[in-house]
Each structure stands twice: as structure tokens, then as C-alpha cells.
């Protein structure tokens, strides 16, 4: 009851602030877009920097002349780490602020909450984070990795390395459960051993029983879809139990450069991660991007995969608008999948016809400075597959344009 009242008050205040902002931006040579990330609550740690990257892209585009001759005016909203608020704010952005598109979301719960809003209002959401797939909507451009672009390449790499028994550990919500379901089907198909599967509530801090089971199961490798603070507790308690990453490899799917720095790189040194972008990627485009970000947000600011996805989403949107010659959501998404590959910090990127990004998978190993040494790169860019044929046979994602 207490929370509800205070939320209503906060919401009222936020709505009032929003109206003032939107009242100011009504010039003819501007176009409004929404930026919707959690700026407060537990997810703020990760999402504030995605907002920074999206805003940086908008600033850069404005500095070089805008889109179709119009300056972009971002309307920033706070999803407050709460799926219900994400849905409310998405409605507000599209209906009241009349933004032409929205960049945002992080957790699968936030995306699932916003999906019906964008479908009903016939608008378009650009979603920047890797996720569990098993979803296919014309209202969303999925730039984060599908399972076959992150989890499964990591699994293939582990097989190549000769790992035979796998232990799946995750936070207890939709992404880890679905991702592990897919991994399990593949382990089964390849006749390898699933040594155990454990879930800990989001934010859980006690891993004593999980570690005892890991010790009993003696896996070759742990696949971890733990999210947030739980990772710190897990790695600390693994170290204390005499199982540092050097002894029992851990492959994480939610630890990026920023999380590693926050956890203290020594804690996670030697552990592996799978992403479609690492700050250490050695290309001129990436060096330029990292330098620009650090010039703006501090010389030690870490750059992560979801931030880069948020950044390139804005650029792909711009290119699609220019190709379509209009801001109309339906025409923009049709144009977006027809575009030629665009250069980006993570290499040339292009959306497939199913509105997910075609991208390369990388495996990295954390060094003492919290940066990844790239150990493995997939053979070329991987086509996105929202429905893994082994786990979800017969399902196909086809979007009409």
C-alpha cells in the first residue's frame, strides 16, 4: 500500500515534468524520439550507460545535420526498473509526446510489458539487449543477440575446448530459464552431460548450497546467467570454497566490462563471457567510438555490448528514415531490413528480415584490468534465429513488410 501511494505520487510528478518538457519542443524542424531506460532502481547500474550511449548517438546525428533536415529532440523517461512503469511510460511517450520511435528496455520483463503497447499504438521499439528469443513482433527491432548468437556459440566453443559436463546456473526469471532450456536441448542432442541446473532468486546472496552441488557434480564448465549483484556473491563464495575461475571455468552471459569493473576485476579474472561486442575489439571505428564516449563520460568509463547496441540502433533508425523518406513506423521498419550493412563499432551491421540483427559472436576472457581478451570469433556474422530449431521445432519468425 505504501509503495503504491508513493509510486502514484512519483508518477504524477514525472508526468507533470514530462508535460513541461514536451510543451517546449514543438518547433517545425524537429522530430521527437523516446529514450526509455531505468534511471532508478536496481537496473539503473546497467541502463543509465545505455541511455548515455543512445543520447551520444542522437547528439552526434544532430551535430551533423539531423535526420531529413530535422533536429532530433530526445524525450527521456525513467522506467524505474519496473515493467509496469515501462509500459506506462511507453504509452505516454507515443500517445502524449507523439514521439516517432522509442529506444529502450533492458530486462525481458520490461520488453514483454512494452510489447503490447507498441503493437496497439503501431509504433516501433528499438531493443538493445541480448535476450532469450522465443518472441517475434513487427513492433520491435531486436538488436541484442538471439540465443543462437550468444548462448549457442558459447556452447559450441565449450564443446570445441573439450568440455563434456555442463552446469547451468541462473537468476530465476524468464531469460535464464529459456536460455537454459535451449542449452539443455542441445546438451541432450549432443549426448553430453548436464551435471546440474540451479536457479537463485534475482538479487540472491547465498550460494552455499549451489556451490556444494557444484562440488558434488564436478562439471567441466559452468554456464552462468546470473544477473546483477548476485554475481559478486557467487564469485566471492566460489573463491572462498577453493574454486576460482582458474580451477573451474565459468562462462557468464551477463557480465560485461562495466560489471567486471564494479565487481572488482580480480574477483572475476580468468572467467569467460560471450558477447557480440567487446571494448577491446581492435578496429578504427571502435577506437573512435570508445574515445568519443570516454571524452564525454570519463577516461575510465567502460563500454559494453548493450551500450553499443543502443548506439547503433539510433544510427540504423536514422538510415532507415532517410531511405523511407518518412518517420512512419511501418515504413521505417520495412526500410530498416532493406538497408545495406552500416559500419559500426562492432563491425558492419544489418538487420535481417525478421527484424533481429545479423551479428558476430565473440568469446572473451577477463584480464586483471576488467577488459576482455578475445579468444574466439564466430565464422562470420550469424543470422538471427528467434526460435531455436532444436528447442522450439516447427516455429518460425516471419514478419511481413
Amino acid at each position: 500500500m505504501i509503495t503504491k501511494t508513493s509510486r502514484v505520487a512519483i508518477l504524477a510528478a514525472a508526468l507533470m515534468a514530462g508535460t513541461v518538457l514536451s510543451g517546449m519542443a514543438h518547433a517545425a524542424d524537429t522530430v521527437k524520439v523516446g529514450v526509455l531506460q531505468s534511471l532508478s532502481g536496481t537496473m539503473a547500474i546497467s541502463e543509465v550507460t545505455v541511455k548515455n550511449a543512445e543520447m551520444m548517438a542522437i547528439d552526434e546525428i544532430n551535430a551533423s545535420g539531423g535526420v531529413l533536415g530535422k533536429q532530433i529532440v530526445p524525450v527521456v523517461e525513467d522506467g524505474a526498473s519496473d515493467p509496469a512503469i515501462f509500459a506506462q511510460k511507453a504509452t505516454k511517450l507515443v500517445q502524449d509526446d507523439e514521439v516517432v520511435t522509442v529506444f529502450g528496455g533492458w530486462t525481458s520483463a520490461s520488453r514483454k510489458a512494452m510489447l503490447p503497447v507498441f503493437q496497439r499504438l503501431k509504433s516501433l521499439l528499438w531493443y538493445p539487449v541480448q535476450f532469450e528469443g522465443n518472441e517475434c513482433s513487427p513492433a520491435i527491432m531486436y538488436s541484442g543477440a538471439q540465443p543462437n548468437q550468444q548462448m549457442l556459440p558459447a556452447y559450441d566453443w565449450a564443446k570445441e575446448k573439450g568440455f563434456k559436463t555442463f552446469f547451468l546456473l541462473g537468476s530465476d526469471y524468464v531469460f535464464p530459464r529459456t536460455a537454459n532450456l535451449i542449452a539443455k536441448k542441445h546438451i541432450e542432442k549432443d549426448k553430453l552431460t548436464l551435471a546440474g541446473e540451479e536457479y537463485v532468486p534475482l538479487g540472491g546472496t547465498d550460494f552455499s548450497a549451489v556451490i556444494a552441488k557444484i562440488q558434488a557434480a564436478k562439471p567441466d564448465v559452468i554456464f552462468s546467467t546470473l544477473n546483477g549483484d548476485s554475481n559478486v556473491s557467487f564469485f566471492k563464495q566460489m573463491g572462498a570454497a577453493g574454486l576460482p575461475s582458474a580451477k573451474l571455468p565459468v562462462m557468464s552471459f551477463s557480465i560485461g566490462e562495466q560489471e567486471a569493473q564494479a565487481m572488482g576485476p580480480s574477483l572475476v579474472e580468468g572467467s569467460y563471457a560471450a558477447w557480440n561486442y567487446f571494448q577491446s575489439i581492435d578496429t578504427p571505428e571502435n577506437k573512435k567510438f570508445v574515445a568519443a564516449y570516454q571524452a564525454k563520460f570519463g577516461a575510465n568509463a567502460a563500454v559494453t555490448d548493450p551500450m553499443v547496441h543502443g548506439y547503433i540502433d539510433v544510427y540504423v533508425w536514422k538510415a532507415a528514415v532517410e531511405k523511407a523518406g518518412t518517420f512512419d513506423a511501418k515504413k521505417v521498419r520495412a526500410a530498416a531490413v532493406e538497408l545495406a550493412a552500416l559500419p559500426s563499432p562492432m563491425g558492419p551491421v544489418k538487420f535481417a528480415r525478421n527484424q533481429s540483427l545479423i551479428q558476430t559472436a565473440y568469446i572473451g576472457e577477463l584480464d586483471p584490468k576488467g577488459q576482455f581478451k578475445i579468444l574466439w570469433t564466430s565464422k562470420g556474422a550469424i543470422d538471427p534465429e528467434p526460435y531455436d530449431p532444436v528447442a522450439f521445432p516447427g516455429k518460425k519468425c516471419v514478419i511481413k513488410h
Binding site: I2, T42, A44, I45, D172, E197, E198, Y199, V200, P201, G203, G204, T205, D206, S208, A209, V210, A212, K213, Q215, A216, K218, D229, V232, S233, K236, Q237, G239, A240, A241, G242, A262, M263, G264, S266, L267
Partner: protein
């Protein structure tokens, strides 16, 4: 590693989890028993202890830092607790529901304060080298059993705190006064006991113990602005199960909860074990609403 090893290992883990629970719940149990105050900001005293450990380790690095951090956190959290009692809780002592709301507000202020000062991401307290090893058994029926030194250290702290408090309550004059006020506040006051002072002291003592809990928690997990929130729910469970205001009850309830979840977790995962734990506590208080140990007190009768 056999079944037996896993079982024995889980009993050890159960004791280890129980020692964390006892440290986080003692203060709640004490202050509720004496003053009928539910301090929603109790978890933030844990958080305070964690941040004080972090600060102490910056000033006193090296192997003994953590031993210095314990008294620092105890005194620091105790002082903040005393201040909280004097400024908020005492003034609302006749309105228990308002204390609930006020201390909840205080907890939000503390969390936001920590976020503003230390950042949302949290800070890291590293265990000193002498705690950073594992006793492992190889050969024999318990082959493969590992006992992390940090967890043994935490159990030691819990035992010392429990023993110290028991001695304080049973053997000292202060303890006598506390027991007197606990049994019958009006009569004790009529006999010349300064109940006001006793309240203040017990509350500060309880928050001080929470501060200690914060230091040892930092050895196992991160110190973040919302670290207290993850321990406050089990702490309330311990208090409900143990019987309000009883030291022995709190200790026994912590052990029951710790061992129950550790042993259940051999068969189910952590999420499900928490569900089963809640079911167990609800069933238990159906049969024994007064908790493990019933404390007879005028304060709780009405």
C-alpha cells in the same frame, strides 16, 4: 564426492547461514521484545556496517583490517541506532504503526544516502589472506568436503556475540535492568529503573550487532545500498519463529531456518527452497503461535 559429503557439507552450510541470520535478527528480536517496535531500518544498519568495514579497510589495510572493522562497525551502527531511537522511535513509542512507517522512511533515506555517497554499484570488501583459504578433506568417508575459512570465521563471530549477549543479560546489572523492564515496564519504573535509558541502550546494542552482521556479510557478498533488504525478510522470519524478544529463541530459530533451507536445497533449487521455508514457518506458527520460546512479558501480553 559422495552423498554423505554433500549432506555433511550442507549441515555445515546450514550452521553458517544460521550464524548470519542470528546476527541480523538479534537486534530486531531484542528491540521488539522490549519496546514492541518493529524497526524497518534494521537492514540499513547491516548496510552501514558493510560500508564502515569498507572505510575501515581503506584506513587500515592489511591482515588485521577486518578485526578493526568489527568494533568500528559495532560502535558506528550502535551510535546511529541510538540517534534513531532518541530522535524518531522514542517519540513515537505510543504509536507502533507510526513507527513502522517512520522507520521505513528512515530506511529509504539511508539507502538513497548510501547511493549518493558511494554510488549505486556498490563497493568491495576483500577478505584478508588469512581468511582466504579452504580446509578441504581428502580421503575417507568425507572425501571432497571443503570448509571455507570465511564461513568458520563468521560462525565464530556469531558464537562470541551470542555468548557475550547471554552473559550481559544474565550476569550483569545492566542485564538485570533489561530483564526487569522486559517483564514489567511500569513496575520496574516504579522501582526506580530508568526504563528510558534501558530502551536506548538495548536499541543501540541491537543495531550495533546488526553492524557486526554487515561486516561479516561483506566477506561473502557485495556491499550495496540495498544489501540490507536481502537480509531483512529472513531476519523477520527468525524473529517470528523464535518468539519475540528471546535470545535463545532467536538462536534456535536461526538454526532451524538455516538447517531447513540448507537441507531442503539438497533436493530442490534455491527459489523453491524459499517457498518451502515460508510454508514451513506458516505451518509452525499455526501450531505454536508464540514461537519456539515463549517469553512472558507484560509488554507482549496486551
Amino acid at each position: 564426492m559422495g552423498e554423505l559429503t554433500l549432506f555433511v557439507g550442507q549441515i555445515f552450510n546450514g550452521f553458517s547461514v544460521a550464524s548470519l541470520f542470528v546476527l541480523s535478527a538479534l537486534g530486531l528480536a531484542l528491540s521488539f521484545g522490549l519496546m514492541r517496535v518493529i524497526n524497518m531500518a534494521h537492514g540499513e544498519m547491516l548496510m552501514l556496517g558493510g560500508y564502515l568495514a569498507y572505510l575501515t579497510l581503506m584506513v587500515v589495510p592489511g591482515p588485521l583490517g577486518i578485526l578493526v572493522a568489527l568494533p568500528v562497525a559495532f560502535l558506528g551502527a550502535g551510535l546511529v541506532g541510538a540517534l534513531l531511537e532518541a530522535t524518531v522511535i522514542h517519540r513515537l513509542s505510543s504509536r507502533p504503526l507510526d513507527t513502522l512507517l517512520a522507520t521505513w522512511g528512515v530506511s529509504l533515506i539511508f539507502q538513497q544516502g548510501a547511493r549518493n555517497i558511494f554510488g549505486a554499484i556498490g563497493v568491495d570488501v576483500t577478505a584478508p589472506a588469512w581468511l582466504n583459504h579452504t580446509i578441504s578433506i581428502s580421503g575417507g568417508p568425507l572425501d571432497g568436503l571443503t570448509l571455507p575459512a570465511t564461513r568458520i570465521f563468521i560462525m565464530g563471530v556469531a558464537v562470541l556475540v551470542l555468548g557475550g549477549l547471554a552473559l550481559l543479560l544474565a550476569k550483569t546489572r545492566i542485564g538485570l535492568l533489561v530483564r526487569a523492564v522486559n517483564q514489567d515496564r511500569e513496575t520496574a519504573a516504579a522501582m526506580g529503573v530508568n526504563a528510558r535509558k534501558v530502551d536506548l541502550m538495548v536499541f543501540a546494542l541491537g543495531t550495533g550487532v546488526a553492524g557486526l552482521a554487515g561486516v561479516v556479510l561483506a566477506l561473502l557478498g557485495p556491499v550495496t545500498p540495498n544489501v540490507g533488504q536481502s537480509y531483512i525478510v529472513p531476519a523477520f522470519l527468525v524473529v517470528i519463529l523464535g518468539g519475540l524478544g528471546s535470545l535463545v529463541g532467536t538462536a534456535i530459530a536461526s538454526l532451524i531456518i538455516g538447517l531447513f533451507s540448507a537441507l531442503v536445497q539438497i533436493y530442490v533449487d534455491v527459489s523453491l527452497s524459499q517457498v518451502l521455508l515460508l510454508v514451513f514457518v506458516i505451518a509452525f506458527i499455526q501450531f505454536r503461535p508464540q514461537g519456539v520460546i515463549a517469553v512472558r512479558s507484560r509488554a507482549l501480553d496486551s
